[in-house]
């Protein structure tokens, strides 16, 4: 089956599915997607099956998986420090709910929908409840169990990222339901497209560690929810000031630390590419922290800790899809640009007038998109981008960015819209004023 025809097929299917999805209630849509997965398998299991277990690779993947798990609590602190004191625990809850709920969803259907053979649009349910996986199953040189959880940690942090946009006003019960539907209808399909043998992978678009799957998808979904849920009471007039930046900085540090597992772990082994990804990750984060700091210094004469922390995260976002595909010099360019692009990115909400509480759109959406395009430009290791004379790669990246963003935005808006009708997506005004910690969770962050 030729690549061209294949793309035609996939895209047409993709669109048709999409139409259905938009038309129907999420749960139906889920069904449709699942039914479609009956089709003949066009994709294949992500990592090529290899004969024997390598203890070094396994050790590294066990650690990487633990590191990526740590990123979600890191995110909880990164976000928790930026909200107002009265909402700190509710923001932390958003991440811990993702850990608990997607942690279960993943082993039940998530992994199978994402990495089951299925077709080019969605996996299958052959691994429902991890069916068919034993301690002896291998994915490449590592046990499938650790590959499964390494991927699972990505599925967990992605919706948690979205929570930053709706922080300080989202209704917790609705958020919990949203997590489950979003993971099923948005994350799992996209993960399948890019890594599970789906159409994007077949098309040849590159995403080393999740620039489109994780960051772009969460950023685009965040924009949809920002549009849907509306502004916080008093925004932007009143003071919306981070209540504890030391917590935010600690969160950024844990994110950075965990990101080494996120990116270098995506090599799925302790090899030269893992070390390259580690190198580019460190360079991009440092460079972006520096460039964001310089932007603040030049334009406001005040380099801030929040700025450096935001820059480092932006750099990590942008290098994610490129980590194992680019050389250090390119990483330096991508990182430096990340700090500048996202510095302006977080200002977009002001212009377009939506309330993205913690700048998920500005950093993960815009940063994720730029990173994916940048990968098409700078790819040169085990792949070829513009600088290696392969201009077409930029186009492939662009297609994947456009369609993933579109899909994530539309579906998330649809899901959010239905949930808003059914359960209400937002708390009462007086609850919002009194604070979510006290009203929804019956506790307060500090008694100092």
């Amino acid at each position: 089956m030729s690549l061209r025809s294949l793309i035609r097929v996939s895209i047409s299917r993709f669109l048709s599915v999409n139409r259905i999805v938009i038309a129907l209630h999420p749960v139906w849509a889920a069904l449709c997607l699942l039914l479609l997965s009956g089709g003949t398998a066009l994709g294949q299991e992500a990592p090529p099956a290899a004969p024997t277990l390598d203890t070094g690779d396994t050790a590294w993947m066990l650690v990487s998986t633990a590191l990526v798990m740590l990123m979600t609590p890191g995110l909880a602190l990164f976000y928790g420090g930026m909200v107002r004191k009265k909402n700190v625990l509710s923001s932390i809850m958003h991440s811990f709910a993702a850990l608990s709920i997607i942690g279960i969803h993943w082993i039940v259907i998530g992994y199978s929908l994402s990495f089951g053979t299925g077709n080019s649009l969605i996996g299958d349910l052959n691994h429902f409840f991890l069916a068919g996986i034993t301690p002896d199953s291998l994915s490449g040189t590592i046990p499938t169990y650790v590959f499964m959880w390494f991927q699972g940690m990505f599925a967990i942090i992605t919706p948690a990222l979205i929570s930053g946009t709706i922080a300080e006003r989202v209704k917790f019960s609705t958020y919990v339901v949203f997590l489950l539907i979003w993971a099923t209808l948005v994350y799992d399909p996209i993960a399948h497209w890019v890594w599970g043998g789906g159409w994007i992978q077949e098309m040849g678009a590159l995403d080393f560690a999740g620039g489109t799957v994780v960051h772009l998808s969460s950023g685009a979904s965040a924009l949809a929810l920002a549009h849907l849920i509306g502004k916080r009471v008093g925004y932007p007039g009143e003071m919306f000031v981070p209540h504890n930046l030391t917590m935010t900085v600690l969160g950024a540090a844990l994110l950075w630390f965990g990101w080494f597992g996120f990116n270098a772990g995506s090599a799925l082994g302790a090899n030269g590419i893992a070390c390259l990804a580690f190198t580019t990750t460190m360079i991009a984060s440092a460079a972006a922290g520096f460039s964001w700091m310089m932007m603040e210094w030049v334009f406001h004469n005040k380099p801030s800790a929040l700025g450096v922390a935001s820059g480092c995260v932006a750099g990590l976002v942008v290098i994610t899809p490129a980590a194992g595909f680019v050389m250090p010099g390119s990483a330096l360019i991508l990182g430096t640009s990340a700090g500048i692009v996202c510095y302006y990115g977080v200002r977009v909400k002001g212009l377009l007038g939506f309330d993205d509480s913690l700048d998920v759109v500005g950093i993960h959406g815009i940063g994720g998109a730029w990173g994916a395009i940048g990968t098409g430009i700078f790819a040169s290791v085990g792949s070829a981008g513009l600088i290696s004379g392969n201009a077409k790669q930029v186009w492939l990246q662009f297609v994947s960015v456009a369609l993933v963003a579109l899909y994530a935005y539309v579906l998330t808006y649809a899901i959010g819209f239905c949930l808003d009708r059914v359960m209400g997506f937002r708390v009462e005004k007086d609850v919002e004023i009194a604070g979510l910690d006290r009203e929804l969770h019956g506790e307060v962050g500090y008694t100092l």
Partner: protein, 112 residues
């Protein structure tokens, strides 16, 4: 000189300040306090242990002003702080003997 102490709901503070600055009053001192009264507090739960927190966070505004302006100040504060719900707070008015501006040793109405 008159000292006006108003205990109001924290989220009304900005409104009250704007109301006062319209009267040309910039100077005031604000203290965070815990209020006990008709307005009930909330309940917190920690591992099943239930605690009734029976105070409500309030802010205490202190404005010292001259006899002649006192009434309009009280009026402005009352209007700005008013929500009509229990817990809107109180205003206490009292006489003080003297005011001094530390910077200049000015006293009386010059001092405020």
């Amino acid at each position: 000189m008159i000292k006006i102490e108003a205990i109001v709901k924290p989220f009304r503070l900005t409104e009250v300040q704007e109301a006062l600055s319209i009267l040309g009053i910039q100077g005031m001192t604000v203290t965070e306090v815990k209020g006990f009264g008709r307005q009930k507090g909330h309940i917190e739960l920690y591992r099943g242990a239930e605690y009734q927190v029976n105070f409500v966070p309030k802010v205490l505004l202190t404005v010292v002003t001259t006899e002649d302006r006192a009434e309009q100040v009280v009026d402005a504060i009352q209007k700005a702080a008013h929500t009509g719900k229990i817990g809107d707070g109180k205003i206490f008015i009292s006489h003080i003997d003297e005011v001094m501006r530390i910077r200049t040793r000015e006293t009386g109405s010059e001092a405020i």
